[in-house]
């Protein structure tokens, strides 16, 4: 029951993007379509899960003073794995996400969970937390991507249901900020009830 709560807190109550406001750069940068948001979310989930796992295992071996650099090296290794695997098997998505793949390293969410949670809790909790936060992050990115795709180009997951361009601004930069602003407000309303 406790682990269930640990997992579900990342979805709405402590959603990393909508409540904690972490990892906003990729959340705004790649969500031009729902599928890009989902791809970025899954890549980040993998890194988050693996880095939480490794940090929870090695936390007692690392001297306290060098823990942040060590965590960054762990995270950077998994980001490099994601980068190379994605380039080999999903080249189209890799070029869409571009710069934001190596930038998972500096996603405050990943380092924040490693330092704030995995280094203080046992292995199962750290893994469940990584998974929950990753799913919450993917959920927020996919929703923002879907909103922008529907309003901007009348499509969802690449399936076009309205011909032609709608509000082009939603696919471009301003739509990212405005869409995220409204999603945060909606999440506040849901949380209150």
């Amino acid at each position: 029951m406790n682990q269930m709560k640990n997992f579900s807190k990342g979805l709405i109550k402590d959603n990393p993007v909508l409540v904690m406001l972490l990892g906003l750069c990729p959340a705004l940068g790649v969500t031009t379509s729902a599928i890009n948001g989902l791809g970025m979310g899954l890549a980040t989930t993998f890194v988050l899960l693996m880095s939480n796992l490794v940090v929870a295992i090695i936390k007692d071996l690392i001297p306290n003073k060098v823990r942040i650099p060590s965590f960054i090296v762990v995270i950077a290794s998994f980001v490099t794995i994601v980068d190379l695997v994605m380039e080999a098997y999903l080249p189209a998505l890799h070029s869409e996400l571009g710069l934001f793949i190596p930038l998972i390293v500096v996603n405050c969410l990943v380092l924040g969970r490693a330092e704030g949670f995995a280094s203080k809790n046992n292995l199962p909790s750290a893994v469940v937390d990584g998974l929950g936060m990753g799913v919450g992050f993917s959920l927020a990115l996919t929703m923002l991507g879907a909103v922008r795709e529907i309003l901007g180009s009348g499509a969802i997951f690449g399936y076009n249901f309205i011909e032609g361009d709608l509000m082009l601004a939603f696919v471009l930069a301003p739509g990212a900020f405005i869409g995220l602003g409204y999603l945060i407000a909606i999440n506040r309303v849901i949380k209150k009830e």
Binding site: L28, S77, L99, P102, G181
Partner: protein, 191 residues
């Protein structure tokens, strides 16, 4: 002339915050007051320029020379993290007033994706020599500072407005940022 194009393109057309979405965390984090926004812009300019110079040498003389491109992400982030520490120590000794002004913002630099993003972009561009990269880094830092200070002064005025309760704070700030991005889209086509 090409340097002028790099500067105009980085400051206005492809602004690092409003068009490329890098450095959003400090953008929303320290933009509540104009003073802190100015301090943050100074620290970003300083670190971004030095980081780009150092990573340019690493990329061209170590990674490319020995076919180690796959180590780019790890080596860059380690270099930036240690550089930030080094800058902090040197600054504390050499220029206490500057350290006082930038001090609290320096540790935040390591996880500022604008620094790593600009370093990767500048070193990844095959047409860029060292001087191009430096100009590119400074121009991006100016673009960051410009938008950060603009946004901070708008947010200071927004405190006086009567915003609906659910929109108060971050949602309203995001929508302001969206309108600012819309305004900056007017620069598209200049370069």
């Amino acid at each position: 002339m090409e340097y002028v194009i790099i500067i105009i393109s980085a400051v206005f057309v492809n602004n690092i915050v409003l068009a490329k979405f890098l450095g959003i965390c400090p953008f929303v984090g320290v933009s509540a007051k104009t003073d802190t926004a100015v301090g943050m812009s100074g620290a970003v300019t300083f670190v971004m320029t030095i980081a780009t110079i150092v990573t340019w040498f690493i990329k061209n003389y170590i990674l490319d020379a020995y076919n180690l491109e796959f180590l780019q992400t790890i080596s860059f982030i380690l270099v930036i993290a240690s550089l930030v520490q080094l800058v902090e120590i040197v600054l504390k000794k050499v220029s206490p007033p500057l350290y006082q002004a930038l001090g609290i913002f320096l540790p935040l630099m390591t996880t500022n994706c604008a620094i790593l993003g600009v370093a990767i972009e500048a070193t990844g561009n095959a047409d860029f020599g060292l001087l191009h990269s430096v100009v590119f880094a400074i121009a991006n830092a100016i673009g960051f500072g410009l938008v950060l200070i603009l946004f901070a002064s708008i947010r200071e005025h927004m405190d006086l407005l009567n915003v609906p309760k659910v929109m108060r704070g971050m949602p309203a700030a995001m929508i302001v940022a969206g309108i600012l991005a819309l305004a900056f889209m007017g620069f598209a086509g200049m370069v």
